[in-house]
């Protein structure tokens, strides 16, 4: 599904990613862990196509297509979804309106008919049922006046509605209390599907107590330095990230 090769990326002239290699198969869930400043969020932003990040070397293929050649909206239309670490507020535009605009933009790009307002409400209803959440979010303006937890939940609602092929969750657990974390994790679990791959970027292991990844990768200084199964997450939790620095120092 996703094939990242030797990815180098910089922001404002400073290189953050120094050659990332990562393969995510169809339906797999990969966790990317690492200390602050390791480049985790940069990787997520680069995959979504944020204009502030410049790719200087390497390739990224999404189901064989050149992802880096696409604009951010083309990536979304191709099935990439990023749950933002800091979701943006859009005043005066309801979530329902925003979601319809997004879904219709994607459908239009794929040559499918667009939904009208009434049809779309049914679609929304159905999608919300899947994750078992109330629709009280829908009539509120996009993220306006939302608490941190509500914003993160709203990202998951968008993911449920947009049904991506590749979902990237950028620090979705940050700022969540334990109840909210569980709620979000449960929703994400129901959205796991054989044709949907997920990349979960997180600093802490605690999210992975609820969402069990197939693979765990450790990102350090802009490179993946260790990959393993879900037990790697527990190891990191027990040992912290310090040993990485020591290893890096030894290797250097």
């Amino acid at each position: 599904m996703l094939d990242i090769k030797n990815l180098h990326a910089s922001v404002e002239g400073t290189e953050i990613l120094h050659g990332v290699n990562l393969k995510v198969g169809k339906g797999e869930v990969h966790a990317i862990m690492g200390p602050n400043g390791s480049g985790k969020s940069t990787l997520a932003q680069v995959l979504a196509g944020h204009p502030a990040y410049e790719v200087t070397e390497g390739t990224v293929a999404l189901a064989g297509a050149d992802l880096l050649d696409m604009s951010p909206e083309e990536r979304a239309q191709a099935g990439v979804f990023m749950a933002f670490q800091y979701p943006v507020e859009i005043r005066g535009i309801t979530n329902a309106y925003f979601l319809r605009a997004a879904v219709n933009a994607v459908r239009k790009a794929r040559g499918e008919p667009e939904y009208d307002t009434i049809d779309f409400l049914d679609v929304l209803d159905e999608k919300l049922k899947v994750i078992g959440w109330e629709d009280t979010f829908l009539t509120r303006a996009v993220n306006e006046g939302f608490s941190g937890g509500e914003k993160k939940r709203n990202e998951i609602i968008q993911m449920a509605v947009l049904e991506p092929k590749l979902a990237i969750l950028d620090e979705t657990d940050s700022g969540l209390d334990i109840d909210a974390l569980k709620l979000v994790a449960e929703a994400v679990n129901t959205l796991r599907a054989p044709d949907r791959s997920m990349v979960i970027v997180t600093h802490y292991q605690r999210l992975l107590n609820y969402i069990t990844p197939d693979y765990v990768h450790v990102l350090h200084n802009g490179r993946i330095v260790r990959s393993g199964g879900k037990e790697l997450a527990h190891e990191l939790e027990a040992k912290g990230y310090d040993w990485l620095r020591q290893e890096a120092a030894v290797a250097g």
Binding site: A48, G49, H50, P51, A52, S71, P72, E73, R75, A76, Q77, F81, M82, F84, P87, V88, I90, R91, G92, I93, F98, A101, A102, V103, A105, V106, A109, A141, Q158, L162
Partner: protein, 477 residues
């Protein structure tokens, strides 16, 4: 040009010209020109005297320099003060109107012919200095509502016109109002008698076509006791390299328990990207809530004109009267807008609401200027003001000048202001959901203006939103 700015520049769509022979007054301004205009309009003697008095006063006045706009001096002797499409005889019915004129308005989306005209909206169509046609006159008359081109009203209802003309905006009020009083040509007159709710929306569409002309329209709306009316004006002009002056005066009078809703969708030619050409829109609009429990509500969507200078205001004289001002002003490229409102509280328990949304893009300057004055007599007055500015790109300017003058300690005043920028992050967020950058900008702007759009009559809210989307197209990216 940053990414965002590339999305806001798009061509003006109403900039075409109607090829029609026009009859113009000689260039320049003097008493003979005013006599000529008055004669063309077949006005009574008192009307001419009123004009001449205004003109003589205007000669003593100087052009205001306090607005936050810059433009080269206007040569008032280089303007034609009267221009009308040439016709052999005055048309007495729609069938006799030059088809070119009907086609012009049809192209602007204002069909005037019986079969095609908008249902539920009566339209007065003004082309340069004359009214071309007014629809539904008969139906309105049945309801007792007078809706006429101003020049006809002067002839047919002189007493009403005389009673109210200049009673809200005196001829001496300001430089441009005085000029308008001297040379005004057409506009609309509305009279809604006691107890009548006007059965349909009233609307006037102003089109400037001839070169080197100015348009000086005059609108007067009176709602008697318990009457109510909703009125909308729209406007556009061809693209020309010269600047053209549009100096209008609008007066509203609401008696006891009456309400007037006045909406504007202003789309005059804004000039080109470098600021060449465009309309100078120097307008005086004022409403008097004379009666108890009366209400005047202004809603404006200002997207055109190279320079806009207008402050639709309310004089809240009657006890419990209500004034409202909802405004969206969009400036792009080299446009300049200095707009806002005045709310003068005189009566007891008077209430005013101001919601202003300024959107600046390109290298434009957008100024909100508002005054809230609570007089000593205005026991229990309340005002709520909200001024929001949005910047697109980093070459434009947003300015806010709120003046607050409170002389009664029982007043309750609230003022909120905000400035935001459409950021790359907001656009990226939408893009990451599959929405194109241009559509993202339109959506963000529409959300920003929502509180104002919902005040517009439904027929026009969609049009206004589309207009905004087109006007900003190309300024982000």
């Amino acid at each position: 040009m940053t990414g965002i700015e590339a999305h806001v520049a798009k061509p003006y769509e109403l900039g075409w010209e109607t090829d029609i022979e026009s009859e113009k007054a000689p260039v320049g301004l003097n008493e003979d020109i005013i006599r000529l205009i008055s004669a063309k309009k077949e006005e009574p003697e008192w009307m001419l005297e009123w004009r001449l008095k205004a003109y003589r006063h205007w000669l003593t006045m100087t052009e205001p320099t306090w607005p936050n706009v810059k433009y080269p001096p206007i040569d008032y002797q280089a303007i034609h003060y009267y221009a009308a499409p040439k016709q052999d005889k005055k048309p007495t019915s729609l069938e006799e109107v030059d088809p070119k004129l009907l086609a012009t308005f049809a192209k602007l989306g204002i069909p005037l012919t019986e079969q095609k005209r908008l249902t539920g909206v009566a339209v007065d169509a003004v082309f340069d200095s004359v009214s071309v046609a007014t629809t539904f006159k008969g139906k309105l008359k049945e309801a007792g509502v007078i809706f006429l081109p101003f020049s006809e009203a002067v002839r047919e209802h002189p007493d009403l016109v005389r009673k109210y003309l200049g009673s809200v905006v005196p001829t001496t009020d300001n430089f441009f109002a005085a000029l308008n009083s001297a040379v005004f040509t057409d506009g609309s007159f509305v009279f809604v008698p006691k107890g009548v709710k006007c059965p349909m929306e009233l609307s006037t569409y102003f089109r400037i076509n001839a070169t080197s002309t100015g348009q000086f329209e005059r609108t007067l709306i009176i709602a008697e006791e318990g009457a109510s009316v909703s009125y909308l004006e729209g406007c556009s002009a061809p693209m020309r390299d010269e600047n053209q002056l549009h100096a209008a005066v609008v007066e509203l009078v609401a008696l006891d328990d009456a309400s007037i809703k006045y909406s504007t969708v202003q789309n005059w030619y804004p000039g080109d990207e470098e600021g060449k050409g465009g309309i100078y829109n120097f307008v005086t609009k004022r409403g008097a809530c004379r009666g108890r429990n009366s209400k005047i509500s202004w809603t404006q969507v200002e997207t055109g004109s190279s320079i806009t200078w207008k402050y639709p205001s309310c004089i809240l004289q009657g006890d419990n009267s209500v004034g409202e001002f909802y405004s969206v002003a969009v400036t792009n490229n080299r446009q300049q807008a200095d707009t806002g409102t005045k709310m003068i509280h005189i009566g007891k328990n008077t209430k005013s609401t101001i919601v202003s949304k300024g959107i600046s893009a390109g290298r434009s300057q957008n100024t909100y200027r508002g005054q809230v004055k609570i007089m000593k007599s205005a026991e229990g007055a309340r005002n709520y003001s909200q001024c929001d500015s949005m910047l697109i790109g980093d070459q434009c300017g947003a300015h806010t000048f709120p003046y607050i003058d409170v002389r009664n300690s029982s007043a309750v005043m609230e003022h909120e202001a905000s400035t935001s920028k459409i950021g790359e992050d907001q656009i990226f967020y939408c893009q990451a959901r599959g929405i194109k950058a241009e559509d993202a900008v339109s959506m963000i702007v529409a959300g920003f203006c929502k509180e104002v759009f919902r005040e517009l009559p439904m027929e026009f809210a969609v049009e206004a939103q589309n207009l905004l989307a087109v006007n900003l197209e190309g300024s982000v990216g």
